[in-house]
Amino acid sequence: MVLLEARNICKTFPIEGGIFRRRIGTVQALKDVSISIQKGETLALVGGSGCGKSTFARILAGLITADSGDLIWEGMSLERYSRRERAKRVQMIFQDPFASLNPKLSVGTQLGEVLHSSSSAAALLQTVGLEAEAAGHYPFQFSGGQRQRIAIARALAPQPELLIADEPLSALDVTIQSHILRLFKKLKSDYNLTILFITHDLAVAEEFADRVAVIENGCLVEEGSAREILSEPKHTYTQALLRAVPKLP
């Protein structure tokens, strides 16, 4: 069953230049991209930097509006839903754990904003592997990996069905990456989540994804089950991505 379908998404950004900041050109971030996400699956969206995958994620989350195209949630246009209703369906985790938490509010307060009941903040923190006392601390007191856990807790608070993770591991050390990935797998099964996992690293996609979609320069170039894509990549870009994965000698 298709949970979210993106049809023909296009997005361009203006380039401003000169003293008067006039429009001197446009960048086409996404060109006619169509992807469907099945309920319960983990779809990895893979591509190098600047390929448009983050823009796509933000459009799906509702933070940016596409220039054209439709977003269909369980058969109905996503625009029909209010911001609050959308919040209960789609949530997102950002790439930089040092920028995704409000530095001036305590962890408990930030979770409380989304939970509407401070008692479960402690329980939520424990599900992501942190202690309940963390609620009283401020983000600057935590490491990158811990902050990412807090961000995950915040994203899970409204009990969404679809979780979009925008390169959540890229800013972390390799050892921490494996812990957070393990956390994702556990939460996925505990909460029955559908996950759109954005990454530039096919090795990570292989660890975690059911299906893989490859984007190059704003276009979807290849799509299929993880096994297919990783054992027999057809497009040159996918092959390049595969070759770029470091392998032990």
Binding site: L63, R86, A87, Q91, S100, N102, P103, K104, R154
Partner: protein, 275 residues
């Protein structure tokens, strides 16, 4: 969080000195009636223009009033004008700046054009004109200083708001379905106040200076209510025979403004996100 700020603040000796002086001045202002050795208003013409002595530590003015007592009561004027004027500009400036920065588009345009217009009117002339028209008294002075100071603050707040608005944690708040008003007040505002607080603290010093200037010119606080500015004004006429009438109010103004400046600089170091 607060304890962290406290610790950083404690290390800045000058800022602590500034804060101490301000607390002392506030103390003087509140308990003026008990502390001042003489009545500031009752005239004593036999004691006119007498230099500093054991009885009158800072001398007397042209109507025989004790300068020290008048300075102490003048603290009330300076501090209240300083705080109220800045308070007015803070409330108006922050609100409009946040709204302009967050909502953008036509609201931003309207507010910022208004700010541009107000900032291009020469402040001094505007203040003088309004006071001449409405009549000079302490309340009008507070209001007009506040009303001419808010545009600068609004622009500052708007700038900070524009950059904070794009940060991931604000995007996450939008995603969570939190209302715009709540995002502005709970999430954006705390991240924007740091430079505003610094600017406001320095602004109190500026307001004190402006009030002193206005009172000096006769357009501010009117005698017999003592203000450092109007004491200075009297002193001007007697500069060659009663130097104490000019020196001491000037020192009072200097020390007060300096203290607010030191406090403001100290706050800037404490709140600087870089550390």
């Amino acid at each position: 969080m607060i304890t962290l700020y406290f610790e950083r603040f404690r290390r800045n000796r000058l800022a602590i000195a500034g804060m101490a002086v301000i607390i002392f001045l506030a103390f003087l202002a509140i308990f003026a009636a008990r502390i001042a050795p003489h009545d500031p208003i009752i005239q004593n013409l036999t004691q006119r223009l007498s230099p500093p002595s054991a009885r009158h530590w800072l001398g007397t003015d042209d109507l025989g009033r004790d300068v020290l007592s008048r300075l102490i009561f003048g603290t009330r004027v300076s501090l209240s004008v300083g705080f109220v004027a800045v308070g007015i500009s803070l409330i108006i400036g922050t609100t409009l700046g946040l709204i302009a920065g967050f909502f953008g588009k036509w609201i931003d345009t309207i507010i910022m054009r208004l700010v541009d217009v107000m900032l291009s009117i020469p402040t001094l002339f505007l203040i003088l004109a309004v006071l001449a028209f409405l009549g000079p008294n302490i309340y009008n002075v507070m209001a007009i200083i506040g009303l001419t100071a808010w545009p600068g603050l609004a622009r500052l707040v708007r700038g900070e708001c524009l950059s904070v608005r794009e940060r991931d944690y604000i995007q996450a708040a939008r995603l969570a379905g939190i209302s715009n008003f709540r995002i502005l007040w709970v999430h954006i505002f705390p991240n924007v106040i740091a430079p505003v607080l610094v600017s406001a603290t320095l602004g109190v010093g500026g307001a004190v200076l402006t009030e002193s200037a206005l009172s000096f010119l006769g357009l501010g606080v009117q005698p017999p209510m003592p203000s450092w500015g109007n004491i200075l004004s009297i002193g001007r006429d007697y500069l060659h025979i009663a130097w104490w009438l000019s020196l001491f109010p000037a020192c009072a103004i200097l020390i007060t403004v300096l203290s607010f400046n030191l406090l403001g600089e100290g706050l800037r170091d404490v709140l600087d996100p870089r550390s």
